[in-house]
């Protein structure tokens, strides 16, 4: 069975640019969550989507936005990139809206902002 897939694997951007990260959940999973993992830290919650609706937002600025598509895949957008946005961005899927239970993570997208 295919797990959570994310693209691209790595990305290098310049300060001020915009980035779009993509995630495909496990087949049958309807909930997608995004997390930011800074080097040496645990993942931090950014967004949760279920059935194309935002169900939760973490403590991140409005430069961060996301959406979920009818096929349950998701995009994370970050505008006006800052050096501090350099991190591993993780997508996690779960079968129901109760996203905390049994969340399965993808391999992540490594974003470097220079």
């Amino acid at each position: 069975d295919a797990g959570v897939t994310q693209s691209p694997t790595h990305l290098i951007k310049t300060r001020g640019q915009h980035v779009t990260l993509r995630c495909s959940p496990i087949s049958g999973h309807k909930s997608v969550s995004w997390y930011q993992q800074v080097l040496g830290q645990g993942p931090q919650f950014i967004f949760q989507y279920y059935e194309k609706e935002e169900r939760g937002r973490g403590n991140f600025p409005d430069r961060f936005s996301a959406r979920q598509f009818p096929n349950y895949s998701s995009e994370l957008n970050v505008n006006a990139l800052l050096l501090g946005d350099s991190a591993l961005y993780l997508c996690a899927s779960s079968p129901t809206a109760t996203g905390g239970y049994e969340q399965y993570f993808g391999p992540g997208t490594r974003l470097t902002v220079t």
Binding site: V4, G42, G99, Q103
Partner: protein, 116 residues
């Protein structure tokens, strides 16, 4: 505000030994406590999880011990192997409220090295 505190930051254990990682939480509303294992360059993988209605859960060599009154839980890895060398994260989440946000709060991680 760090809601889940994890210790130690790093741990070195000999092959065959027991690895113990501890976590403490502050939010009494948390009701789901998973442990994740992360290898370099990979996403976290769900290892084992516990609900507060039980004090211990065992899956193979991995055991979670949970102390609700102390608001602490720990991961024990028995017969530790070099292949267990990874970073381990504890996490916690509140119950799903039906319409509100639902998120995992992670500890800062413990880097485990199992030496032959």
């Amino acid at each position: 505000q760090q809601q889940v505190k994890q210790s130690p930051q790093s741990l070195i254990v000999q092959k065959g030994g027991i690895s113990i990682i501890n976590c403490a939480y502050e939010n009494t509303a948390f009701d789901y406590f998973p442990w994740y294992q992360q290898f370099p360059g990979k996403g976290p993988a769900l290892l084992i999880a516990i609900r507060p209605d039980v004090s211990e859960k065992k899956e193979g060599r991995f055991t979670i011990s949970f102390n609700k009154s102390a608001k602490q839980f720990s991961l024990h890895i028995m017969d530790s192997q070099p292949g267990d060398s990874a970073t381990y994260f504890c996490a916690a989440s509140p119950p799903y409220s039906g319409a509100g946000s639902y998120q995992l709060t992670f500890g800062k991680g413990t880097k485990l090295s199992v030496i032959p």
